[in-house]
Point group: C2
Chain length 136, copies 2
DNA sequence: AGACATCTAATGCCAACGCATTTAATGAAG
DNA sequence: CTTCATTAAATGCGTTGGCATTAGATGTCT
């Protein structure tokens, strides 16, 4: 392994640790603020955002899983939590009765609109700019 | 809110989503490879790395918590797992008998040395370079 | 039509986390 | 020396997550 390879490895690992630190800091701050001000967690918020940022309601559980970066099972339970809280509604999918549609309720949309400024505010404060993020 | 503010908010949120996606992808890949090839998870590896990259053993549970970005309680249990696996050892701290030192055993160091190439390999493959990371 | 591989989402089960609390040690104040 | 606030780490408890499995639906092949 050459000297420059060692340097490259260092840089790679440093970038990873930077990412971990940044993720932990921002996630933690979001969790704290979203939970205390609106009673939801980060995953819940990301799910609402995914649903809000679509057609006008939205659909397919599988798409939601991709949006929130969770497993299929975790997404199913997340949907169940949101449904219990009255924020989303599950609906049968006519064209494929195995699948379901998840749609935002009015309450869900309202909560999302209310929580979004908090979310953006925390990001603006806790998410380092590009320069810092890449460790230059 | 001005047009450029909207653009800035978009950029901020995009950066966050990019970070989430990257974190999920790399963490997932690391978890899979470290688990299947060496029988440890990402947190375990990061703990071993934190311990290895210090004096020559290492210490203080609180420092470890910071290194792995976990809560105090989670770090305590992580240490317990590593100890059960024979990878670390807890030792009394003479100067402050409330605290403990966590030190790498020989087995722990060997496993770390064995797992490190896997770790670096996964990072090299899954961690996007600076350009992609910032979405340019 | 009937049998079978495939796919979607839900659920059982267990591991790992965080918060709150507990236990024990320290250090400062009376 | 005793008391009390503070600190370090461990533990009880509830929540969330992933893996494996299950139940139900689809569609392909004969």
């Amino acid at each position: 392994m050459s000297v420059s390879d060692i340097g490259a490895e260092r840089a790679l690992v440093d970038r990873w640790h930077g990412l971990l630190a940044c993720h932990a800091a921002v996630w933690g701050a979001l969790e704290r603020e979203l939970q205390s001000r609106h009673g939801i967690g980060v995953s819940e918020f990301e799910a609402l955002e995914g649903l809000a940022g679509c057609g006008h309601d939205k659909c397919r559980a599988a798409e939601l899983a991709e949006a929130v970066h969770l497993s299929q099972s975790a997404t199913s339970r997340l949907t169940a939590r949101l449904e219990r809280a009255g924020l989303v509604q599950r609906a049968m999918c006519d064209v494929d009765r195995r699948g379901i549609f998840v749609l935002l309720t009015e309450k869900g949309r309202d909560l999302y609109e209310a929580a979004r400024p908090t979310h953006r505010e925390v990001l603006a404060e806790a998410l380092p700019g590009t320069e810092q993020a890449v460790g230059l």
